[in-house]
Symmetry: C2
Subunit: 178 residues, 2 copies
DNA sequence: AGGTGACATGTAAGAGCAGACATGTCAATC
DNA sequence: GATTGACATGTCTGCTCTTACATGTCACCT
């Protein structure tokens, strides 16, 4: 379901596109929040067309189909945002490792925690670079309006920073033990 | 894969148990980090037994099987913790909503954000109650040792708090717009 | 003319997962 | 003695997602 929604959002925000274009947009924008490869996107678009949420606007050479969002699609997106409680599965491999790490000995636990820390650092740098790039290409003086994806990017940066602080504190606590 | 690991962790931390017991342990401890219903757990245990990661220690009345972790299982758990990079899929419905919310109008965006805020508040209360309950049943004066699940619980509380702060700021920012 | 690599669109097999269905035991209540 | 509800173990169907396979075009280089 959520894949559908993400695709509708991209079509709505950036306009009509082909499956290939959407796969690229996916990587460049939603990727930090939801993932999907082209092998998922193509069939999903076909199903969405069958459900009239999108239409094939044009068919180019070699089967390239340009999809655009329909009013029904827009309604579906709106309904999901307004009506769907994000009780979604909180499945995090990192959190699972955090859970299990006390089963290891001191030294080994430190290895795992330090790796998490580094992982967080890399991701934070990545996200902040992304934000810097976005800012550079934006309208110079603040035009009140919140831009598509900005809120999610901010959330991602804060979450990553929190994870980093947590890892630091966990490392410190374990190191304190003789 | 991760389900296997979580089950091995529970067996290792709390000792032998049946599928039913493990399902309960799951709900009570790992649930904030990974989820699985009994319909996933039973078949997985059977497969793990086939792979010799666990053994059937005893068979009680009406097919109740008590599983215990084997040395191979322990090795598998250790190897996963030490060797597995948690690059895991970051799929969050909440973050997806955060991404898409700027597509809505001001008022509707506020509705969605306020619901997220409330959701975060409930979850935070829940996690903090859980921590309080754990503390109450713990050894009175700090015995250095980090207890199973404590690190993950702390991470969860911090992450939830961060999400809450983010929602507050996002709401404030949107309200500031005329 | 032939080769290479980026572009572009798909299908197929299999794991992971959720929700519903099915079955049977046991203890306590009516 | 019959019913109810908590305990307990499983299967099945259908959806999602990942990985790998398969195919064909186009532009550029040699």
């Amino acid at each position: 379901m959520s894949l559908r929604i993400a695709l509708l959002g991209l079509l709505q925000a950036y306009g009509s596109a082909s499956g290939y274009d959407l796969a690229k947009r996916f990587e460049r924008s939603v990727a930090h929040v939801w993932q999907a490869g082209h092998s998922q996107i193509y069939p999903e678009l076909a199903k969405m067309a069958a459900d009239a949420l999108v239409t094939v606007e044009a068919e180019g050479v070699r089967g390239r189909k340009t999809y655009s969002i329909t009013p029904e699609g827009h309604a579906e997106l709106r309904a999901w945002l307004l009506g769907h409680d994000p009780t979604g599965p909180a499945r995090s491999e990192m959190a699972l490792q955090a859970f299990l790490v006390p089963l290891l000995g001191r030294e080994e636990a430190l290895v795992v925690l330090r790796r998490m820390r580094e992982h967080g650092e890399r991701k934070l740098a990545e996200l902040e670079a992304l934000r810097a790039a976005k800012h550079a290409s934006s309208v110079p003086t603040g035009t009140g309006r919140v831009r598509f994806g900005d809120l999610a990017l901010d959330l991602g940066i804060r979450q990553t920073r929190t994870a980093l602080e947590w890892a630091d504190d966990a490392i410190a606590e374990i190191e304190r033990q003789t």
